[in-house]
């Protein structure tokens, strides 16, 4: 069991009102699963990803990541978990514009305290795995959207995370490149990588093994293909 949450709730203060983004989520994820989380905007799917991605802490409930309780960890401990256990891929790629592809991929390794030579070696290997071995020294502006997203995926994978989170990973790509990225995810999943994709597109979700729908901060449906 990689992820196990129990009665996860999250409340925000918006002015004088308290907004309940999550209303008690019970979720279990096994190693090797390929999951899509769907739901309309405001449903709480992003909040859920923030919490299980250790970017945010729940108001109530428990969250165990790899059998370890993370709901009460402090900022630095959460940063360490994000560095070692979680890889993020974003809709808008979020690459550092003035760094090369290689430097972007090396960043998590630097935060992990890896030596420069080791970081270069490992980053080149991962860039090769996503098919960008000849784009290593290019800056993001010299790469196509699909190539940029593959750099971001390489960066998410470089620290061998337990889970790969992708938030609308194909949202900024045309359908052809989107498919290439989805094929890359499927390959990675076939190699045993646990992946959670947040999406609102049915044809993306249908390519995963399990679809979870969120509505008003609760799991509405949880189906396996």
């Amino acid at each position: 069991m990689i992820i196990k949450t129990k009665n996860l709730t999250k409340e925000y203060e918006a002015g004088s009102q308290i907004v309940k983004a999550l209303n008690g989520i019970d979720l279990s994820v096994e190693k090797g699963e390929f999951i899509s989380i769907m739901g309309p905007s405001g449903s709480g799917k992003t909040t859920l990803m923030n919490i299980i991605g250790c970017l945010d802490s729940p108001t109530n409930g428990t969250y165990h990541l790899n059998e370890r309780s993370v709901s009460e960890l402090d900022d630095d401990e959460l940063a360490k978990i994000r560095n070692e256990e979680i890889g993020f891929v974003f809709q808008s790629f979020h690459l550092l514009p003035r760094s090369t592809a290689l430097e972007n991929v090396m960043l998590p390794l630097k935060y992990a305290g890896c030596s420069e030579n080791e970081a270069i070696k490992r980053s080149k290997k991962v860039l090769e795995n996503v098919g960008l071995q000849d784009r290593v020294k290019h800056s993001p502006s010299e790469l196509s959207g699909g190539q940029q997203q593959r750099v971001a995926i390489a960066r998410a994978l470089v620290n061998k995370p337990s889970i790969l989170f992708a938030d609308e990973p194909t949202g900024n790509l045309d359908s052809k490149t989107g498919n290439e990225v989805m094929n890359l995810f499927k390959d990675l999943n076939n190699q045993g990588q646990t992946i959670i994709i947040i999406t609102h597109e049915d044809n993306i979700a249908s390519q995963s093994n399990r679809i979870i729908t969120i509505m008003d901060g609760l799991i509405e449906s949880d189906t396996r293909n």
Partner: protein
């Protein structure tokens, strides 16, 4: 490796906002340039002063007439005369060189030129006491002094003032107050000491001046030359003893002469320079602080602009400490670059001013290290708050910042 990453990120950020970075560090640049130029000028001026004191060939005490007071009654100026100087010269306890002087302005004529210039009557030893060197011809001798010969040594500017040149005036006669004197020597350029210009002066033997030119044996002052290792207080006491005995001053009565120390003038000047330097350096320091506020301001802008980058770095595992370091390094780097440019500009200004004034070029290395350190501290101090703001950002919120 993280420090290197912070440095690389800081350099990238500064380079990508080159104009903004330059404008931000302008106050630091100006402040540092001012500090360096002023401190450098201060020490150059001091060094110039020390050199001119060294040129005097040791220290010179200056004995001048004073007022004789008995109770509240002032009996007017009691003059010093040549006999006082002779009495001092007879004592050789301190191995001093006694040089009495009488100076007056007199009309000088050569050819058609007619000027009013200072004429001084001195012993031959005077040139040695004041460290004046000869450029052309020769100095007058003891024999010429005792013989009251009409010979004159002139300062380096005098030929020009008499609208002639060295060749025409040397070994020729000039008229001093209507009487002809033979120009036997011309001094090297000495430069003004601040209260008199030896280059403008004409020098005649003491007894010649006393009898032929000025008609008095009252001297203006007596220079007492001693070497640097003498105890100045002991020397002053000996002078006092001799002159008090000579002037019949009883116990408990005040001296009717004054002894001053040339190096006291130097000390005063040094003090004034020091105060001035400290004042300007202080103002420049304020400019550095103001610059620091500018840096803080632009760092806050930079933090806000890079909210998404901060969110991303945090998502990838950067701790608060790492983010904080990144922005502090950037602020410090901005200030240090400003400091270095400032030092280069300040040094150039200093070089320019020093060569214009013919001063030796002196810049204490401590001023350079000090201003770099101070710039770095300004960056550190004013970088902390923006960096803390960056570090405290919520990763989930900042990732989605538009």
């Amino acid at each position: 490796m993280l420090i290197k990453e912070s440095l690389v990120s800081a350099i990238t950020s500064i380079k990508s906002n080159a104009t903004r970075s330059f404008l931000t560090s302008l106050a630091i640049i100006i402040g540092t340039a001012a500090v360096i130029a002023v401190i450098g000028l201060g020490s150059s001026a001091e060094k110039a002063l020390e050199q001119s004191i060294d040129d005097l060939g040791g220290r010179t005490l200056y004995v001048s007439p004073g007022q004789n007071r008995r109770g509240a009654v002032t009996k007017g100026m009691i003059p010093l005369d040549i006999k006082d100087a002779e009495a001092l010269a007879r004592n050789n306890e301190h191995n001093w060189r006694i040089s009495p002087t009488i100076t007056r302005n007199r009309q000088i004529k050569f050819g058609n030129a007619n000027i009013n210039e200072r004429v001084g009557a001195y012993l031959p030893i005077h040139f040695n006491v004041r460290g004046y060197d000869l450029e052309h011809g020769r100095l007058f001798t003891e024999d010429e002094n005792y013989g009251r010969k009409r010979v004159v040594v002139i300062g380096s500017d005098v030929p020009g003032e008499l609208k002639t040149n060295v060749k025409n005036i040397l070994n020729n006669e000039i008229l001093i107050a209507g009487v002809s004197y033979k120009v036997i020597g011309i001094l090297k350029e000495e430069g003004s000491t601040g209260w008199q210009n030896p280059d403008d002066e004409l020098y005649v033997p003491l007894l010649t001046g006393a009898q032929r030119l000025f008609g008095t044996d009252k001297v203006d002052s007596i220079n007492v030359g001693i070497s640097n290792d003498h105890n100045i207080d002991a020397v002053m006491m000996t002078i006092e003893e001799i002159l008090r005995a000579k002037h019949d001053i009883g116990p408990g009565e005040d001296n009717d002469f004054r002894i001053s120390d040339y190096s006291q003038f130097a000390d005063l000047r040094r003090q004034a320079t020091g105060i001035f330097t400290a004042l300007i350096a202080g103002i420049a320091g304020i400019s550095l602080i103001v610059g620091g506020i500018g840096v803080m301001n632009i760092m806050l802008v930079s933090v806000t602009e890079r909210t998404r980058e901060i969110g991303l770095r945090k998502a990838l595992g950067a701790t608060q400490r790492v983010i904080m370091m990144q922005f502090i390094v950037e602020a410090i780097l901005l200030c240090i670059i400003g400091g270095i440019i400032g030092i280069l500009i300040g040094t150039s200004l200093l070089f320019l001013f020093a060569s214009l004034n013919d001063w030796p070029y002196a810049l204490p290395i401590s001023a350079v290290i000090g201003s770099i350190t101070f710039s770095a501290l300004v960056g550190l101090f004013f970088g902390i708050w923006p960096a803390k703001r960056a570090a405290k950002m919520d990763p989930a919120v900042s990732l989605r910042y538009e």
